[in-house]
């Protein structure tokens, strides 16, 4: 094949590793997803449409995508702050805080769900103070958002850290010497440099939030039309032996998630293309 000329390399095995990659991806990712689509093909178009567009399902889409988006945005902002202080400053307990960031990764989601519910329930440590203010956290959409923020944080912090470490302090000094204030140094010098990493972190946090199940089902209360997330709806349908309905909703989730991630990737490509140049 003239288009794919192989460069001689000290490490052989291009064919083997590519073959392995394709097979592995097929087994782990593509075949299960294909089965999902195949399952829905059995439905008529009308059945499919009614399964994925009933009012209850529609409400769950809004909650899932809305809460995930807000949670990812919150994580992008505050994850940036966390990553910044971990990279830029040396303070006692820094290593500990750095390790704590990973906890949402490591905890079983059910554990974090129960912990958050206990905190934010009307008689919990936080809920006790929020209830008199008229804020209902647990068993409300706010609770879903809190839980999704919790599980998404490490994605933003861990993708931003290397990018921030890579920043030259000198270019900030250069900006300052040219008369740029702190805000414009941040907006014009730091932010554009780490934007691709920030977008990646945002996308990962969003993707994780969209698929989250375990930590949300405890805190949300699972009230149809109000606090029911799409993943839960799928489980509910499965429990009612409505396999076709469940896979139909799953396909919609899959398509939507894929579209969102593709969009973010394009955005990232656009942000990165400016810097890529000839490097």
């Amino acid at each position: 094949m003239p288009a794919m000329q192989k460069k001689p390399s000290v490490l052989p095995g291009f064919g083997l590793s590519l073959g392995y990659t394709v097979m592995y991806l097929s087994l782990i990712v593509l075949i299960p997803l294909g089965a999902l689509f195949a399952r829905t093909l059995a439905m008529s178009w009308a059945d499919f449409w009614s399964a994925v567009s009933s009012a209850r399902v529609w409400a769950s889409y809004k909650l899932t995508f809305g809460a995930s988006l807000i949670a990812a945005i919150i994580n992008a902002v505050f994850g940036f702050v966390v990553a910044w202080s971990l990279v830029r400053y040396r303070f006692p307990g820094r290593k500990l805080i750095d390790a704590i960031v990973d906890l949402p990764f490591a905890l079983p989601t059910a554990v974090s769900g129960i912990a958050l519910t206990a905190l934010y329930a009307p008689n919990g440590w936080f809920g006790r103070w929020l209830t008199p203010l008229g804020i209902k956290a647990a068993f409300a959409p706010l609770g879903v958002m809190i839980s999704l923020t919790f599980i998404g944080l490490p994605f933003v912090v861990r993708t931003l850290q290397p990018a921030l470490e890579d920043l030259e302090a000198e270019s900030e000094e250069a900006a300052a010497s040219l008369g740029a204030g702190r805000w414009s140094t941040f907006r014009r010098v730091i932010l554009p440099a780490v934007l691709p990493a920030l977008l990646t972190g945002f996308a990962l946090a969003l993707a994780r939030a969209l698929g989250e199940y375990g930590s949300v089902v405890f805190i949300s209360g699972n009230m149809p039309m109000r606090t029911e997330i799409t993943s839960l709806l799928i489980v509910t349908k499965l429990e009612q032996y409505d396999y076709a309905g469940a896979t139909a909703i799953a396909v919609v989730m899959l398509a939507a998630s894929f579209a969102i991630l593709l969009g973010i990737n394009l955005l990232q490509w656009w942000a990165g293309a400016r810097r890529r140049g000839a490097t």
């Binding site: 030259e168 000198e170 270019s171 000094e173 250069a174 900006a175 300052a176 010497s177 040219l178 008369g179 740029a180 204030g181 414009s184 014009r188 010098v189 554009p192 440099a193 400016r274 810097r275 140049g277 000839a278 490097t279």
Partner: protein, 370 residues
């Protein structure tokens, strides 16, 4: 705009980077801070810029007799050029140069067309107008540093500060750029201070040289001054290769192994030990003794590929020394390794243990002091 600092001290933990340093650079001068790494030269430059602040108790940083020690770098109107360029990687060359104008507060910001014209003009000045839309990663090191310089000049700095501006470039580009900087400086005439550890660069470019060592200024003066009249052994060593001998001070001469050289002592105690220094180009090699005081030596190696010929020798007392002579003279002498010759220092500088500045020029041939 003159630049002056008085009694600046700066410590990093227990390390004293600057120890009571005072310096004055008159308006329009191009000064070089010259010293080995760790001598405090970059710290001094950064304190002048406002990127670093002197310890409490230090004196003022004066720009044109106005104390700026309390103001931030952005308000000082300094152009700072970094060793590793510090260009904004996500901006084109044009945007990099325009940065200083675009970040100004709205009421001070020039209109778009003015910025464009100004950036074009600066890019022409640094001969990079054809690369305006490139990104820094697409430029060579020398080009990047010229962009950095244009960017610093865009804000019309009153003082230009350069931190090892050519340090990261290869030898040929360095040479080109330093001549170019010299020309640019005479064109713009902005007071400039640059940091370097390369004595050739400092001697060639600067009109004022400040030799620094261990957080102190060893000597400040014109290139001629510091090269020909070094006040300390450090300056003598740092500004070029030098041969060192042990000697002893006599009444009107200095004893140097088997020979004596006329020397008008200036206060060195007679009989005290002295260190005698001779630059390689101040050493004459003779194949026969001709009555003048000379030290017998053997030729070890000859490096003749270059504008001058470098000869390594060993004296009869076992000391190594280096002599440099012109190709013409070398051709008439037919030297080869192993030859026995006589070496004669023409210019010596004498320092005694007391470290007093014994800058003395003895010409052994004529016996006159310069």
């Amino acid at each position: 705009m003159s630049v002056e600092v008085r009694h600046i001290t700066k410590c990093f933990g227990s390390f004293v980077a600057l120890d009571d340093v005072s310096l004055h650079v008159p308006t329009g001068r191009l000064a070089a801070l010259l010293g080995p790494s760790g001598s405090g030269k970059t710290t001094l430059l950064r304190i002048i810029a406002g990127l670093e602040f002197a310890d409490a108790g230090s004196g003022p940083v004066l720009f044109h007799d106005e104390d700026v020690a309390g103001t931030r770098v952005g308000q000082r109107r300094v152009g700072f050029v970094f060793q590793h360029y510090a260009l904004f990687r996500h901006m084109t060359v044009f945007e990099n140069v325009a940065f200083g104008l675009r970040v100004r507060p709205r009421r001070l910001r020039p209109p778009r067309d003015t910025i464009r014209a100004k950036v074009r003009q600066l890019l022409e000045l640094v001969q990079l107008d054809h690369l305006a839309s490139r990104f820094p990663s697409q430029l060579s090191g020398g080009q990047r540093q010229r962009v950095a310089l244009a960017r610093a000049l865009a804000v019309e700095p009153k003082v230009l500060l350069l931190d090892e501006p050519f340090g990261a470039l290869d030898a040929r580009v360095r040479k080109e750029l330093r001549l170019w900087l010299r020309r640019l400086h005479s064109e713009l005439n902005v007071t400039s201070v640059f940091v370097t550890h390369d004595q050739d660069e400092a001697l060639e470019v600067a009109d004022q040289i400040v030799v620094m060592n261990r957080g102190r200024i060893e000597q400040a003066g014109t290139p001629d001054d510091v090269f020909h009249h070094p006040k300390t052994e450090f300056v003598l060593h740092f500004l070029g290769e030098v041969n060192q001998f042990h000697g002893r001070i006599g009444a009107d001469r200095v004893h140097l192994g088997p020979i004596e050289l006329p020397y008008e002592g200036n206060g060195h105690a007679v009989g005290s030990d002295a260190r005698v220094f001779v630059r390689p180009h101040d050493v004459t090699i003779d194949t026969k003794t001709n009555g003048l005081p000379a030290i017998p030596a053997v030729v070890l190696r000859i490096h003749s590929a270059g504008p001058v010929v470098r000869v390594e020798l060993r004296t009869s007392a076992g000391q190594s020394l280096v002599a440099v002579l012109s190709q013409e003279r070398f051709d008439t002498m037919h030297l080869s390794p192993g030859n026995s010759v006589f070496v004669r220092p023409r210019h010596i500088r004498v320092f005694t243990e007391a470290q007093s500045p014994g800058v003395v020029f003895g010409d052994s041939a004529g016996g006159s002091a310069a």
